[in-house]
Every structure is written in C-alpha cells, then in structure tokens.
C-alpha cells in the first residue's frame, strides 16, 4: 500500500514555473493577431461608371434629385427633416418598377461631411432608390492676355 502511494506521487509532474511567462506571452500574441485579422464590416454601394452628360435626352425619365448641404437634405428642392426622409422618398418612388426610374441623383455641396453623406445614401437605398452621383465638372479656362 505504501509502495503504491509513493509511485503515484512520482507521476505528478508540475509544469516548470519558468514557462508561465512564455505561455502568457504566446496567449497575448495569439489573441492580438486574432483581433487584428477580424474582417471589416461595411456597406456595399454600386455607383455607375462616370460619364459626361451634356444634355438630357427627351425620352429619359425625370429622376428624383437629392441635394445635400452641410447639415440639411432637400428632395427636389424641398427641405425634409431627416426623420421623415425615408417615408417621403418611398412615397415618391412608389409605382416606379423599372431600375432607371428608381435612380436618385445625389448632388452634394463641397462642405458636406462624409458621415452626413453616408447617412443619407444608406437611407436612399433603404427607400429603394439607386444612388447616382452628380458632380460639378471642373474646367480650366485660359484667358487671352
């Protein structure tokens, strides 16, 4: 009996205390790497390839125009509170089934911040609109001397 007890005591091997530092370091590195390679989350947006438009064709449908200022949003020139935006736009898009009819032209003033732009464009897509950007074309004019 005494002999058996002695044998089982010998089998108990404790990990060396010096290794705990290494184990802790490896665990920290492992979790840091796991956290940093987490895929980002985002919002997919399809913006049609840019093209220069000189004049609107006669048969083209009249699209809804959204104007963005630094803090406000206008639908076809009418200022709309942000809380009512989706409802108003949805009612204007109702009955339009063809994708070309659901195009919403977004014109932003130069001082529109990105967070405001994202807020409005996500709401346009939620209302069923297709975002299209309209930008001011920059032209260089050389004056005669």
């Amino acid at each position: 009996m005494l002999q058996k007890l002695k044998r089982s005591n010998r089998l108990l091997v404790e990990p060396p205390a010096a290794a705990s530092g290494d184990i802790a370091f490896n665990l920290i590195v492992f979790f840091l790497v796991c956290a940093s390679i987490q895929p980002d989350r985002g919002f997919k947006q399809t913006i049609p390839r840019s093209e220069t438009q000189n004049e609107q064709k006669q048969d083209e449908p009249q699209n809804i125009e959204i104007q963005l200022t630094r803090t406000a949003v206008l639908i076809n020139g009418t200022n709309v509170p942000i809380a009512e935006f989706v409802g108003r736009l949805r009612s204007q898009l109702s009955g339009k089934t063809r994708p070309e009819d659901r195009v919403v032209i977004v014109k932003s003033q130069k001082d529109t911040p990105y967070k405001h732009w994202i807020d409005v464009t996500t709401r346009i897509e939620e209302a069923g609109g297709i975002v299209t950007l309209q930008m001011e074309e920059e032209r260089t004019v050389t004056l005669p001397q």
């Binding site: 290794a19 290494d22 490896n26 590195v29 492992f30 790497v33 940093s36 390679i37 895929p39 980002d40 989350r41 985002g42 919002f43 997919k44 947006q45 399809t46 913006i47 049609p48 390839r49 840019s50 963005l68 942000i82 809380a83 935006f85 989706v86 932003s108 003033q109 130069k110 001082d111 529109t112 911040p113 990105y114 967070k115 732009w117 994202i118 807020d119 996500t122 709401r123 939620e126 950007l133 930008m135």
Partner: protein, 131 residues
C-alpha cells in the same frame, strides 16, 4: 561544453515564427493610420479585398497604406484589380467621418472608373435616429 536548445522550446519557437509570418503577409496593412469611421446600420461583412483606400483625419489619401495622389488613384486601382471577375473586384473605402465631399467624391469617381465594387467601411450604429 556544448549547450543544446531544449526540445520543449521548439513548439514555442514554431508558433512565434508562424505568427510573425502571418503578420508580415498582411501587406496592405493600414492599421497605423488614424481615422474615425462614420456610423450606419445593417452592415455586412466586407469580404476579402486586395485594395484598400483610406482618407485619414488629416485629409491624406492612402492606397494599401501608402500615400498617393488622387490623379494616380484610378490607374493604380485598375492595376491592382487586374482581370479579377466582377463580384471579386472589392475595393474597401475607409473615410474619416468629417472629411468633406470635395475630397471624397473624386475618390468614389476614381473607384467607379477603375471598375471596383465599392464597400464603405463603417461602424455599426446601435442607437439610431428613427427612419
């Protein structure tokens, strides 16, 4: 006197080397740049991408972590995307929330011109305004 590396350390060494190469493999790392994402709801996973465009809080433009000018952006993105099929031409766009339209709209145009599938990288908004 000969001193051998203990066999028990081999596992640790291999593990550290593995992690070192995993970090190195992330070539387009832009984690050192400072930007605050805008917020939105119902975000989805962006998927894997070889192109990441970032505008930091100092209004500087970066492509895969290296500073670049707006005039070169479309060509460089097109080069990086090569002949990738549609649906895999993902371009991640990370814009600091206070950057103005005069800065970010030409970037959107450049991505569109290069035929990239645009994904805005945003932060999930849990306390939103009513829609």
């Amino acid at each position: 006197m000969r001193c051998d590396v203990p066999n028990t350390a081999m596992g640790d060494i291999a593990f550290n080397l593995l992690i070192f190469f995993v970090i190195l493999a992330r070539a387009q790392d832009d984690s050192h740049l400072h930007w605050n994402p805008a917020q939105a709801e119902k975000l989805e996973s962006s998927g894997n991408s070889v192109v990441s465009v970032l505008v930091d809080s100092e209004n500087k433009l970066y492509l895969n972590g290296s500073e670049i000018g707006i005039s070169q952006l479309a060509d460089r993105i097109e080069e990086l995307l090569g002949n990738m099929p549609a649906g895999k031409r993902i371009v991640l766009l990370k814009v600091h929330q206070d950057i103005l339209a005069q800065r970010f709209e030409p970037i959107l145009e450049a991505i569109s011109e290069a035929g990239g599938d645009l994904v805005h990288i945003l932060e999930e908004n849990k306390t939103s305004t009513p829609k």
